[in-house]
Amino acid sequence: MSFITRIFLTASIAFLAFAPDLARAQGATPQMLLHPPADSWPIYHGDYSGRRHSSLQQITPRNVKNLSLAWAFQTHQQSEIKSSPLLVDGILYFTVPENIWAVDARSGHQIWHYIHPRSPGEHIGHRGVAMYDEYLFFVTPDAHLVSLNAKDGTVRWNVQVADVTKGYWTSMAPLVVGDHVLVGVSGDFDNLTGFLRSIDPETGATQWQWNSTPSAGTPNQTTGGMTWMTGTYDPDLNLVYWGTGNPTPVLNGSTRPGDDLYTCSIVALNPDTGKLAWAFSVSPHDTHDWDAVETPVLVDGDFHGQPKKMLMQTSRNGYFFVLDRTNGKSLLTIPYGPVNWSLGVDKQGHPIPNPEKEPAPDGRLIAPDEGGLTNYRSPSFDPKNGLFIVDAHPSWSIYFAKPADGLYGWAGADYDVWGKAVLEAIDYQTGKLRWTHELGPWGSGAGVLTTDSGLTFTGDAMENFLALDSTDGKTLWHAGSGSEIVSSPITYELDGRQFVVTSSGGVLFAWALPE
């Protein structure tokens, strides 16, 4: 070997020894997904538990008043950001329908922007991408799953998940579990079978499909049960937990007597086979459009003195549920706001629907409204305070259905009468509200993030970002954002600095303490 070659080889080895990361970024490895490091947010919820709770403590109740804007990223388009960004290897990935941006989390500048060709199907919202290795997974309004290379946004493959011409569309952030990409579907305006599909991340091939409801036209059986939102995962039990949507026809239950399984349910599935382990009916025989698709939050903790593996959900129908997630048995079912449609709760923890409060030709006054006592913005579980914190919407509405409305799709009409937004901190063992924080009239607040330092990050109905003291809900910091906040916050550490990233309208904001 020549002298020059030896020098070159030595230098190369030295270079590679000290700079291994430059050759290849790590992407979202299985290890990262199971134990997200502080400098990541690799899953829609942050981690598989869905608690949206961070162990980061740099920003505290004492110093949060100094929180300031590190950078803003403006998308220059009209769709409101409803997605939770992912943060992997210093790059943020977030979406609106048919668009993905990759943004450098240090500079706040765009690396690439993917624009999907305009497709049929509802463009009402988009919850974000999922990541596996160096690939992103993205659903489209016409119910396709697209896989892209994270480094440059080029498309690897595109597969159909459902038929948009039948009334399906998709908007959710998929969930990657092992070597499965789990995708759910939307669509309430047609009598459709709901399902969860597992797709191979390398090839796009279908691995399994779990149907929440029978085929349309099965006598006396329901359709619906759409899988609108992202579920959660317990790696020890190897179970994914998913919420299903309301039955169709929506406001008329006459063709679907009984509990309408598995609509408005929380189900536990084996992610490798799609086999159902257990199911719990959150709203048996729903006639108010109250999906049970809110985050099924997984918490290990004490319940009345006994250690339990729990699953908690604040559901659209107005009830807070605590289940034993090993077997689906109810531990607690209690309203977390005004509810007037039930005759109480049965011995198994299911609300009992009052037939007098089903939609009627001359109308019925119902609490909550169709949007529900909460909707898609994420709640957070704070283990230090034992609080389940949720953006709640106490509300009233009138529901109508008559034979002339038919038996297809919506099959009736409902109208919001009044509502407001309030943040509720629920003691998970009793359902009692430890504190509340008023958020404004009519609409809703934002999703919720809590941290180990004792902070609750959220937004109100008047466009303000808020940081609250998790023990009593008092405001410690705020910033007027200039537009509606319809997303849930995330946080991560980068270069030794903690960032909280929020969005409002079409703008992403990164907040941190001054350097």
């Binding site: 009209q78 305009r118 007037n340 030709p361 002339a404 409305d405 799709g409 919506w410 303000n464």
Partner: protein, 250 residues
Amino acid sequence: MSISPSRAQQTALATRKSYPPDLVQKGAALFRQDCSFCHGRDATGGETGPDLTRSRLVRSDINGDKISLVVRNGRPDKGMPPFDRTDDQIASLVAFIHKQQNNATAFKGRGNGGRKGVDPSDLQTGNAEAGKKFFEGAGGCSNCHSPTGDLAGIASRYKGLELEEQMLYPRHAKSKVMVTLASGETITGRLAYLDEFTVGLIDDAGYYHSWRTRDVQYKVDSPANAHVDLFPKYTDENIHDLMAYLQTLH
């Protein structure tokens, strides 16, 4: 006896033009993408949004003059966002929406998936006498309202669903606010803005003033709040009876 067409009917006849099928088709496709979640694929109402086939604004719209403004500006007070669309795109939406309204009666009983509407004839199941009793008694309505005063002719101003919605919660009723400064001086006016941090009012001369909430005391007077207090107290029978009573006040 023949009756000449009402003005509404005249407008309807004037705008009941036929639109080119391909324009309507383009409009239907765009409507599904942008509008159908709230308004239903067939425009009869979806999740949260109203039935456009029964809309007065649509009925009085001529070649999109009103519809285009709603699409471009949205309805921020009602939760509809703005949509920045080209003239051609708006024309296609206008064609589709008008076609849907013109054909609305054909949808009765047929499955089209979208939400269906409420007619005044659906809201006639109550008893006016019982409604009057509720108005003067348990409902407490006569604390603020009078059938010969502010509610005289209410049934001519509002009909059907709109009357019931206003009865349950009059969302346009204005709130007043009294602000007390540190000096003790008080200012009253119409409440113009309120969040946790800022209170704003329009004074009697029409000027806007605002203060940080931390710097002042303020008291809001929202007459509509009495309606909210009734929600947990109403039976559905009360509501239908009250509607029957109000509909006698022409």
